[in-house]
Each structure stands twice: as structure tokens, then as C-alpha cells.
Amino acid sequence: MAGAVFTPIAARPAPAATVGALGWVRANLLSSPINALLTLAALYFAWKVIPPSLDWLFFNATISGGTVAECKTAGEDGLIVDAPGACWTFVKVRFLQLMFGLYYSGNLDQVWRPVLMFALFVGLMIPLFVRSFRKKLLLGAFIVFGFPFVAYALVHGEWLGLPVADTDQWGGFMLTFFLASVGIVGALPLGILFALGRRSQMPVIRAFCIFYIEMWRAAPLITVLYMASNLLPLFFPSEVDFDKVARAMIGITLFQSAYTAEAIRGGLQALDRGQFEAADALGFGFWKKSGLVVLPQALKISIPGIVNSFIELFKDTTLVLIIGLFDLLNMAETASRSPEWKGYDLEAYVFTASVFFVFCFGMSKYSQALERKLHTGHAR
């Protein structure tokens, strides 16, 4: 008896219906009768939508050749009709125009300038995502405050003695990129000032900052753009002349500064009172307190908010279409209205939408990841 040893029986495997693929299907798709019905409805919907979309986008699509004839096919009664799929040939032929605008698609020997500009930008951005790279702050500051001048010099050309591509000849994705970048870069210092001002103890300054921020936030961007293109020339002496792009940039920057200020104010509010009090106790003045203690922490917290407002701005730059600038959307629209490619507006919209989607979705995922990473306990 003494030698009897307790040997547990090996656990039986879980029922086949609760593990593996079958278990997953039962838990996630068929957990209740209603759920099963929903699954059926969703499958029917998917079957109705996904295969035709894929057919149109890829399987029946045309991308070869360089003329509209590639996208036509002989119909039943011998007439020439549109091919059943998308005509990506159109996007391919007009690609340079959609990316860099009419000046660069017309002067092919100059295309290297915007290409180099974008390559530099991407090259400068890469180290920011490398964990072991130490001088992120320095590089970031250069991208924000130095690179715009490099980009302008390259694309405009006057400073480098290249053929001049004036701002009103800028277009396509490049213009979208410039409008959004100038908006965010210009809005950052203004936003910091107004966010600090809104929390100031001085009543006049606080009232002014609140008025400024709320004034822009209450107005739709399109009225701001109308204002920039109609009123700005009136406000300055007639010798000062802004072109359309510069006007839009000024309007967008001022508009965006209000949203940046609100994002930064969120960061300032999340900061513990003790930080302000500690800086005061050290005898720091306003600029030292803000620059060395408050802003480094507040900006860090507000980066996701700033990125989110940048995504909104990036999408909203399409509004310059209404005041007649040729950004990516307007360029695509115009191209699809040209006599040769008339009727291919669906392709134009789908292409533009996917460009915006890639950037906005990527940025929003990045901002979410950043939010998780930066959540180091500063927030209350």
C-alpha cells in the first residue's frame, strides 16, 4: 500500500468543437442564431461586393499601352465600348502630372527636382524611426525648420539658378504635400504661443488668445480660403502681391494654428501642477519655465493630438480645389475631364482616394502607436 503513487490521468483534449479553426468559427461567427444570421448576411454582402470590385480593380483592368484605345473593346454589335475593368492606363499616362503638376510633367528634364526633393524628405525621415539613432530631436528640428527652404529652393529653382517653376505652376500631390507641410510647420510656433497665451494669468492676453482660437475653429476652412483669396489682397498695400498658392498657405497656416493650439493646450492641461510649481520654486522666469520644464513635457504628450490634426489638415488641403488650385484631387479631376480621357473619373477618384488613404491611415496608426509608447506616466 505504501508504494501506491498517485498518478493523475492525463487531461483529455478539449472538445474538438471549441478549439482550432472550428472552435474559432463557432465562437466568432455562429455563437447564437442571430449571430449566424448576421454571418450569412455579411457573407452575402461580401459575395456581392468583393468579387466585382476585385474584377474591376485588378482582373479586368487595363494598364498597358499609352492611349485611350487600350481601354476600349469591341462591344456585341461591333461598337467600340469601354472595357469592363478599370483603365489604369489613364493614371499611368498622367502620373507625372498627378504627382508634380503641369510644369514638371511638361518639362521632363526638370522632373528630377521634385523627385530629389521627395527622396531627400523620405531619406531624412527614415532615421526618425530607427531606434538606435540618437539625434532625433536635432534631425526633427531640421526637417521642420530647415528642410522647407531646401524643398523650396529645389522646386522653385530661382535660388539655385535653375529654370524657375513659379508657385502658380505647382500642382498635383507635390502641392498637396507643400500646403499641408507649410500649414503644420507654420502653425506649430503660432500654436505654442496661443496655447501658452490661453493659459496666461493676464486677462487681456488670455481673452485675445481665446478669441483667436475660437474664431478660427468656428469657421469652416473653405470660408477661410475664400477670405485668404478675396480679403488678404485688400488688407495689404497694393504693392504687396501674394500669388494664389501663398494666399492659401497663409490661410491654412492661421487656420491650423488654432487647432494646433488646442492640441497643445490638451498637453498643457495634462501636465501636473507640481511641474509648474517646481519651475517657479527654482526661480525660473516665464521663458525658462516654458522652454525647459513645461513645453518639453507638454509637447510630448500632445504629439498624437498634433498628428491627428495634421491628418485632418492633409485631407482638408483638397479644399483648395474650390479656389482654383491644382492639388492632387483637382489635377485628377481635370485630367479625367480632358477630351482624351473623358469619362474615366471613377479611376481618378479611386486613385486619389487610395493615395490619401495610404497616408492618412499610416499616420493615424503611427499616432496610435506613439500614444501607447509615449504613455510614460506624465498624464494625470
Binding site: 466568432n28 492676453i205 475664400y226 489682397p233 474650390i322 486619389t352 482616394a353 490619401f356
Partner: protein, 405 residues
């Protein structure tokens, strides 16, 4: 010891602050400087503007309000204030613009709220497939520009795909969609019918309010719940049936009918307005759906577990515990989305819906050159709407939000 006690106050006496470092003086200085700079900017800008306007030969003023507007406004649909070419004045153009902004915003808000709540709930469905579809919808619509979506719906979907009147898409006889727009039945009340319907509607609402009060009191006293929703529904239906019994002949619905090449009668929403409504709804619903999801997720799991352990069944848990707490989180950002929708309705200028930016800041400004007055009025409209929205938000926050401790 006496010595040190007497000396201490003297030692702790702060050194006298020089006047240029005195916070009060500095505050006065900076605020004075800001006011001076603002005054200077205003005077300079006003001077420049006056000079520039003079050069262009435009006299700033409101005198153009009573001029006849020498253009026609696109779309012949002006429900409350109509436009007549050659008769309507500029101020009427403004009123029509504001009216159309408000109409599209109200319908957009209703549509976006309904769709947004629906998608938001689907997003949290235990059904994997359904949740993924809802997520795909939300991401696709949030991450592409609204203007692009509006152009897409209008120029790539509804304009080319909507059938000509003879092959209209119909849902019974009530909803008819074709190239001219969406037709809905138009209720027609004549004679005493109007009075009877108004009276019955008022009576029904009063009865529901009284019933709510009574039900609340009874529940507080006896703990017995009362099916308020179904009772209210019953009262409304009863009121409608009674009104129909008394005034049945005076009420009719005017349906749109195919006469010749086109539909006549009924209430018509032009196709552009429909496309705009559709686009605004689909776009804003994606944002509201995210708010709804966030709100429901924000309710701690312990809350529903506690409710279940108190013996509340699933429906009561949702209705009495989860949803009231989720609404606290959902409603403030959703009200901001309503304001965003209203502001976004200004993009209608790109597809030709006659709202205030289109007919006032666009057409009227080009015709008169009165950019200062016109822009100020246009932005003023949005300021007023935005102030109303924040007033609503604050009212809601003070009433419903948890009291801070």
C-alpha cells in the same frame, strides 16, 4: 533666542523687487503692448482696405442688399423661401443660403446619428465578420477627404447611375429615385384637418410628458417599472388614428406621378442635394461610430458584471447601466461632430448645392465685389451656429456629467 526671533522676520523679508521685474508691472506692460499692436494692425489694415477698395471703385456698405440679384441660383428647390429670377434681392439670396445650410445640416445630423450608432454597435459585434466590415467602413471613410467623397458620390455614382425618370428606382409608391432626384410623398392637409392634427399632436405630446412623470413617481414609490417606450408609441399611434378618424377626408398624401417625361408632385429632393446628404451622412457616421464604440468600451466591465449579479437581465443591464454611462462619453464628441457636419456642408459649393458659402460668399461676392461685408456675414453664420453648439454642449455637460469631486 530673543535675538534670533527678532532678526528672523528681517532676514526673511524678501529683497525689494526692481520695478522692471515686478510681475504686476510686467503684466501691465505686455498687455498694453498687445493692445497697442492690435490697434496698430487694425488701423493699418483698415487704411489699406479703404484705399484698395477705393482703387477698385467699390463703396463698402450694405446698400447692395436691396438690389435685385442678377443671377439665378442653381436647383429649383427652396422649401421655405423661394427665389425668383429678376425679383429676388441680395438679402433674400443670403436668407436662402442660410436656409439651405440649415436644411442639409439637420437632415445630415439625423442620418449620420442613426447610421453612426448602427455602425458603432456593429463594430463591437461579437460576430467577427460583421465587426471587420464595420471597421473597414470606418477606416475607409475617415481616411479619405470629404471633398473627394462628395465628388465621388455626385459625379461618379449618382449622376451617371441614377436612371432616367421612366426607369426610376422605386420603393413602393413612396420613394422614387431618378436623375431628377428623390421624390417623397407630400402630406396635404386642408381645412379643419390642419387644426385637428395640430391639436392631436400637442395632446399626444402632453400626455406622454404627463405619463413619464407619473411613471417615474410610481417607480420611485413602488419600484414597479413601466414600459414607457411602448406606451408612448401607443399614445402617438392612437392620436394619429383618432385624428384620421375625425379628419380623414381632409388629409391626403400627394404622391409623385409620372406625367409625360418627368415626375410631378410630391416632395422632391434634387439629386445633388441627395448626393450631398448621402456623402455628409456616410462621412460623419464613421466618426460618430468611433465615438459610440469608444463610449461603450469606456464603461468598465465591472459595471455590467455588478448589474448582472444584482439580478438584472441582459436587456436591463444595457438599458439601465451600460448605455446611460456610455452616453456620457458619447454625446459631447458627437455634438462636436454635428458642428463639423454643419461646417462641412460648405463643401457643397464644389457640387453646386445652393448653401450659404456657394450663393453668398461665391456668386454674390463675385457679382458685387463686397468681399468685406459678405465674408463677415458668411463667417458670422458659422460663428452663431458654433456658439449655439457649444451652448448645447455646456448645457448638456452641466446637467448630465458626473459632478467632479
Amino acid at each position: 533666542m530673543d535675538d534670533s526671533q527678532q532678526q528672523q522676520p528681517a532676514a526673511l523679508q524678501p529683497p525689494k523687487i526692481p520695478w522692471r521685474r515686478d510681475p504686476a508691472v510686467r503684466a501691465l506692460f505686455f498687455q498694453g503692448a498687445l493692445i497697442a499692436a492690435l490697434l496698430w494692425a487694425i488701423v493699418t489694415v483698415a487704411g489699406n482696405t479703404a484705399r484698395n477698395m477705393e482703387e477698385r471703385g467699390i463703396k463698402i456698405g450694405l446698400h447692395f442688399f436691396d438690389d435685385v440679384a442678377p443671377f439665378s441660383i442653381p436647383l429649383d428647390f427652396f422649401p421655405f423661401w423661394s427665389f425668383t429670377l429678376g425679383e429676388s434681392l441680395y438679402w433674400e439670396v443670403f436668407v436662402i443660403g442660410v436656409q439651405n445650410t440649415i436644411i442639409i445640416s439637420v437632415f445630415g445630423i439625423i442620418g449620420a446619428t442613426a447610421l453612426g450608432f448602427f455602425v458603432g454597435v456593429l463594430r463591437l459585434s461579437p460576430n467577427w465578420l460583421v465587426a471587420k466590415f464595420a471597421a473597414a467602413y470606418i477606416e475607409a471613410f475617415r481616411n479619405t477627404p470629404l471633398l473627394l467623397q462628395l465628388l465621388f458620390w455626385n459625379f461618379a455614382v449618382f449622376l451617371p447611375l441614377a436612371p432616367p425618370p421612366r426607369q426610376s428606382w422605386t420603393l413602393g409608391e413612396s420613394f422614387i429615385l431618378n436623375k431628377a432626384g428623390l421624390y417623397l410623398p407630400n402630406p396635404v392637409l386642408t381645412g379643419i384637418g390642419t387644426v385637428i392634427f395640430t391639436v392631436s399632436a400637442v395632446a399626444a405630446i402632453a400626455a406622454i410628458i404627463a405619463m413619464r412623470k407619473w411613471a417615474k413617481k410610481r417607480q420611485e414609490e413602488t419600484g414597479k417599472p413601466f414600459p414607457l417606450f411602448f406606451a408612448s408609441l401607443a399614445v402617438l399611434i392612437a392620436a394619429a388614428v383618432l385624428a384620421l378618424l375625425f379628419a380623414g377626408e381632409q388629409v391626403s398624401f400627394e404622391y409623385a406621378e409620372l406625367k409625360g417625361l418627368n415626375y410631378r408632385g410630391g416632395a422632391r429632393l434634387p439629386l445633388i442635394a441627395f448626393a450631398l446628404w448621402f456623402g455628409l451622412t456616410a462621412y460623419t457616421a464613421a466618426f460618430i461610430a468611433e465615438n459610440v464604440r469608444g463610449g461603450i468600451v469606456a464603461v468598465a466591465k465591472g459595471q455590467s458584471e455588478a448589474a448582472r449579479s444584482l439580478g438584472l437581465h441582459h436587456g436591463a443591464t444595457l438599458k439601465l447601466v451600460v448605455i446611460p454611462q456610455a452616453m456620457r462619453v458619447i454625446i459631447p464628441p458627437t455634438i462636436s461632430q454635428f458642428l463639423n457636419l454643419t461646417k462641412n456642408s460648405s463643401l457643397a459649393v464644389a457640387i453646386g448645392y445652393p448653401e450659404v458659402v456657394n450663393v453668398w460668399a461665391g456668386i454674390s461676392l463675385n457679382q458685387t465685389g463686397q468681399s468685406l461685408v459678405i465674408m463677415a456675414m458668411t463667417i458670422g453664420v458659422y460663428w452663431v451656429l458654433s456658439l449655439l453648439t457649444s451652448a448645447a454642449l455646456n448645457y448638456y455637460n452641466t446637467r448630465v456629467q458626473l459632478r467632479g469631486r
